[in-house]
């Protein structure tokens, strides 16, 4: 019996209770009768979590015990919020949650030896880039709000950037693992600035540059910000050279200025961010309504199901994209500053567990992969929450595990699976330094 898995099981119980209570709260707002449907949903959710838990018990007995319950908590919270917006959306989301868990299990099943990813890093990078390009391809590409985010093949529609981020992180982690020594040793000082050697830096720059270009090409600014941050984070961790980060930031500033002044779509986003009151009924509507919804929440919020999402009597949105982009504003509106801080705290705890895994991991690839996945996940949360709170321009990325969206949920479960795979090995090696050989000898 693994104590890690027991802790995981114990942590799942409050999650299921919270979900049940959340549904109960929504039901009680929506109808006068409080039936036992909330209990049934809670039971389903707990059952699914327990099955996943048993699977983890078998496959990854030593993996981090808190990550899955934390993610389950976010998912449960997201399901309640989405159910509160529209119950049919919640049904989709619940299906995707199950699909996500299936892919989660498949990843764990077939990528037990995840070093194999290193061998295919260029293939993975190419697939990642191709996926980014796909939404622009005629026939399968889809345009949403001026951005080319989705592709549709037959009945299957998804947003490839969500998966692409994992592919790019795998590539970067692998490439940096191999070349970090050369990047450090080969660095030269030019004009007092330490520059990485171009020969070894080149391939990475190409992949990264291509991804950035494509993101601008498909107009997905949120993802480009995420990718860029993950790139810098990995570069910094791999080389320990803060100057590389400074150079990166400088490049970003120039790039951002260039795009902001040449690409109208980018320029508009920045303008709206700086001056939302110029056109409060038009371009500034979403960010202003997002802020107004938060102002209306106060310390404790208005309560589940109490927020106005559409203008009563019409179908016009009062809080546009409440189930995706601005779901955080809805959270602040309904559960207040305290509830929102709780959500941020969960993301922070996930980040802490993710980086803990990176610290424990013994080999370079595992360390960098765990770091990259955790960084890209945390930055994604920052980009969208920062967007709706006007810290940065609002760009459409999903709030991981909470926002409505199949690609996001499924991709993030794959990300979680990779983290748990790394964790399982790292923790086993950490607790049993000479583990494998010894236990083999005993059996």
């Amino acid at each position: 019996m693994s104590s890690a898995r027991n802790r995981e099981l114990a942590a799942l119980v409050p999650v299921a209770i919270l979900l049940t209570a959340g549904f109960a709260a929504v039901f009680s707002q929506e109808s006068t009768r409080l039936d036992n449907l909330s209990l049934i949903y809670g039971a389903y959710f707990l059952a699914i979590c327990v099955v996943t838990h048993i699977y983890l018990r078998i496959r990854l007995p030593d993996a981090d015990p808190y990550l899955f319950p934390l993610v389950a908590l976010l998912t449960a919270f997201g399901l309640v919020m989405i159910y509160r917006i529209d119950d049919s959306l919640a049904r989709d989301q619940a299906n995707w949650f199950v699909l996500g868990l299936i892919l989660f299990a498949l990843t764990i099943q077939f990528l037990r030896d995840y070093e194999v990813l290193e061998r295919y890093r260029y293939t993975i990078a190419a697939i990642g880039l191709l996926m980014l390009l796909a939404p622009r391809l005629p026939g399968i590409g889809q345009q949403v709000n001026g951005a080319y985010l989705g592709i549709k093949i037959g009945p299957l529609a998804f947003q490839p950037a969500e998966f692409s981020k994992i592919a790019i992180v795998i590539f970067l982690a692998s490439y940096l693992r191999e070349n970090r020594e050369v990047l450090i040793v080969g660095a030269r000082r030019v004009l007092g600035v330490t520059l990485p050697p171009l020969k070894h830096f080149g391939p990475m720059l190409v992949v990264w540059g291509a991804s950035m270009f494509m993101l601008v090409f498909i107009r997905d600014l949120g993802s480009s910000l995420m990718f860029f941050a993950a790139f810098l984070a990995l570069l910094y961790v791999a080389t320990g050279r803060f100057s590389f980060v400074v150079i990166g930031m400088a490049m970003f500033t120039v790039g951002a200025w260039f795009f902001a002044s040449t690409v109208p779509h980018v320029h508009d986003r920045v303008e709206i961010w700086l001056n939302p009151y110029v056109d409060p009924q038009g371009t500034g509507y979403q960010i202003l309504q997002s802020i107004f919804a938060q102002a209306d929440g106060g310390l404790f919020g208005k309560g589940f199901g109490e927020s106005l999402i559409t203008i009563p009597g019409t179908h016009a949105a009062l809080l546009p994209a409440a189930q995706t982009d601005t779901i955080y504003s809805l959270i602040v509106n309904e559960v207040g500053l305290f509830g929102a801080c709780g959500v941020i705290l969960i993301y922070l705890l996930i980040a802490a567990r993710g980086f803990k895994i990176a610290l424990l991991a013994s080999d370079g690839f595992s360390k960098l992969l765990a770091t990259g996945l955790t960084a890209v996940f945390s930055i994604q949360a920052f980009v969208i929450i920062g967007g709706v709170t006007r810290v940065i321009p609002l760009t459409g990325v999903t709030l991981p595990f909470i926002s409505y969206g199949g690609s996001s949920i499924v991709a993030n479960f794959v990300l979680l699976a990779l983290l748990l795979l790394i964790s399982d090995r790292a923790r086993r090696e950490a607790t049993q330094p000479r583990g494998r050989a010894l236990s083999l000898g005993e059996s």
């Binding site: 910094y236 791999a238 107004f292 102002a295 009563p312 920052f382 920062g386």
Partner: protein
């Protein structure tokens, strides 16, 4: 690499702390300002989800109520005003798209049942939905109707009736009136009509030259300061040269040495002009300010919809330190402007033994369970004159109605005290710029020995005098109220 990983985590902590900081700023620290933003319709839309309380007249007549529309999430309440334009002023309107005004705006928190954040959390936990409170006003429907129909006959203007002992507003009527039910359909027309100005409450916003009605204030300052007694005589010639311009009596009639009652009864300009000069700035302004001039009257209406009264220069109310033509201020001319509400307060203070009560439209707040949760507690605003001075003024004002310029205000069997006023307003833009236009006034109270009601009536753009158009309105409204007692 571990050191860098820890630093990276530290960076993520900082980023998330920024998110908490911004969320706190929007949701708590800047929340109040955001809720008041023009672009923010959320608070109004939410209020629409709440059944706003009713507003009732003193006899229980429903002035405003909310009716439900739609079902489920689309359920919302819309305001209805069953009495139409009768209470457009001072009740105002409340609609999501156009905001709210006047009484509806001032009493908004009570009408929507707004409570503190903590008690509303308790309500949430207990599953209560927010419900509005009803407010019963002091408005007298019969008198209000008489006032408005008299005004509609007389011309643009306003009537304010106060109960002297409590400050309760029994009547507040303004012509041109508006029907709040029409606001959602013709807001543009109502708000841009510069001649009729139907959304403008002339009772509290109309600043008019008070003319001879102001002599009551001058007399009060004279008696109160001890400068004169009721027996003091001042020689009143037909014409007085003041600041290089002649100040005339009507028909330049010369009265010789007369005392207060004769001077007030015949509204003798040269008598009051000299009294004003004798009083000096300090004494006249002190009395004015005690009557409420130079401040926004303490009534339960939004401050931006209540104007102050005083001597105005370039939009600013002058004080005792500013140079003014005291002789002309004393007879209600110069740059002196007063609202009908202000002049009603003057009459009410004299009627109440010199004590000015705060005028209030509301009377009590009733929660959805029928309990009275708050009740008007009449409070004194100031005491401009002593009981003795008030009595002396009353005697002089009775003469105005029995034997003087205000005989049309007389009510059979009831002692009436009052004062007429007719300010010439040639070239008044609002009247179309005619040369013979007057602002006609009557202020007074009845019964003089035991005042139940104090009234100011004011009519714009009339070629007639106070006694012709304003005094009959006073009489009709006072009769309506006294008959209802």
């Amino acid at each position: 690499m571990n050191r860098q990983i820890v630093k990276l985590f530290g960076f993520i902590v900082v980023l998330f702390a920024i998110l908490v900081g911004f969320t706190s700023y929007w949701s708590v620290f800047d929340a109040k300002a955001l809720k008041e933003k023009q672009a923010n319709k959320r608070p109004l839309l939410e209020q629409q989800q709440i059944r706003r309380g009713r507003i009732l007249a003193a006899d229980g007549t429903v002035i405003a109520k909310s009716v439900g529309k739609g079902k489920g999430d689309a359920k919302r309440f819309v305001r209805r005003y069953p009495e139409g334009s009768l209470y457009g002023h001072p009740i105002g309107y409340s609609f999501v798209k156009y905001g709210d005004s006047e009484f509806e705006q001032f009493h908004n928190d009570q009408l929507i049942g707004e409570e503190s954040e903590f008690s509303s959390i308790l309500d949430q936990l207990l599953g209560h939905t927010q419900e509005g409170n009803d407010i019963v006003t002091n408005l007298d429907p019969v008198a209000q109707r008489v006032a408005l129909s008299d005004l509609e006959e007389a011309g643009f203007g306003a009537v304010v009736a106060l109960e002297p002992s409590t400050g309760e507003v029994k009547v507040m009527a303004s012509n041109k009136p508006f029907d709040p039910n029409r606001v959602p359909y013709e807001f543009g027309k109502l708000s841009t009509n510069e001649i009729e100005r139907p959304l403008y409450n002339r009772a509290t916003q109309g600043q008019y030259p008070p003319g001879s009605t102001f002599k009551v204030v001058t007399a009060a300052a004279g008696l109160e300061s001890g400068r004169i007694t009721p027996e003091t005589t001042i020689d009143a010639p037909g014409t007085l040269e003041v600041e290089g311009q002649p100040l005339n009596n009507d028909f330049s009639e010369s009265f010789g040495p007369i005392a207060l009652d004769t001077a007030l009864t015949n509204s003798v300009n040269t008598w009051f002009g000299q009294l004003g000069q004798q009083l000096g700035n300090d004494q006249l302004f002190e009395t004015m300010e005690k009557f409420g001039f130079n401040s926004i009257p303490p009534i339960d209406l939004p401050e931006d919809q209540v104007e102050e009264s005083g001597v105005f220069s370039e939009g600013r109310a002058l004080t005792a330190r500013d140079p003014v033509d005291l002789a002309r201020v004393a007879i209600g001319q110069e740059r002196l402007l007063a609202t009908p509400l202000q002049m009603a307060m003057v009459a009410a203070a004299v009627a109440n033994g010199g004590k000015l009560m705060k005028p209030q439209i509301w009377n009590r707040v009733i929660d959805p369970d029928g309990r009275v949760v708050d009740r008007l507690d009449p409070s004194e605003y100031s005491q401009p004159v002593s009981a003795k001075t008030a009595e002396e003024l009353t005697t002089a004002m009775e003469g105005v109605v029995t034997a003087g310029t205000g005989t049309n205000a007389a009510i059979p069997g009831v002692q009436v005290a009052g004062k007429t006023g007719t300010a010439e307003t040639p070239g008044n833009k609002a009247c179309g710029g005619g040369v013979d236009e007057n602002q006609a006034w009557f202020i007074g109270f009845a019964p003089a020995n035991d005042p139940k009601i104090a009234i100011a009536a004011s009519v714009e753009c009339t070629e007639q005098f106070g006694n012709d158009v304003a005094a009959p309105i006073f009489r009709d409204v006072a009769e309506a109220i006294l008959n209802g007692e």
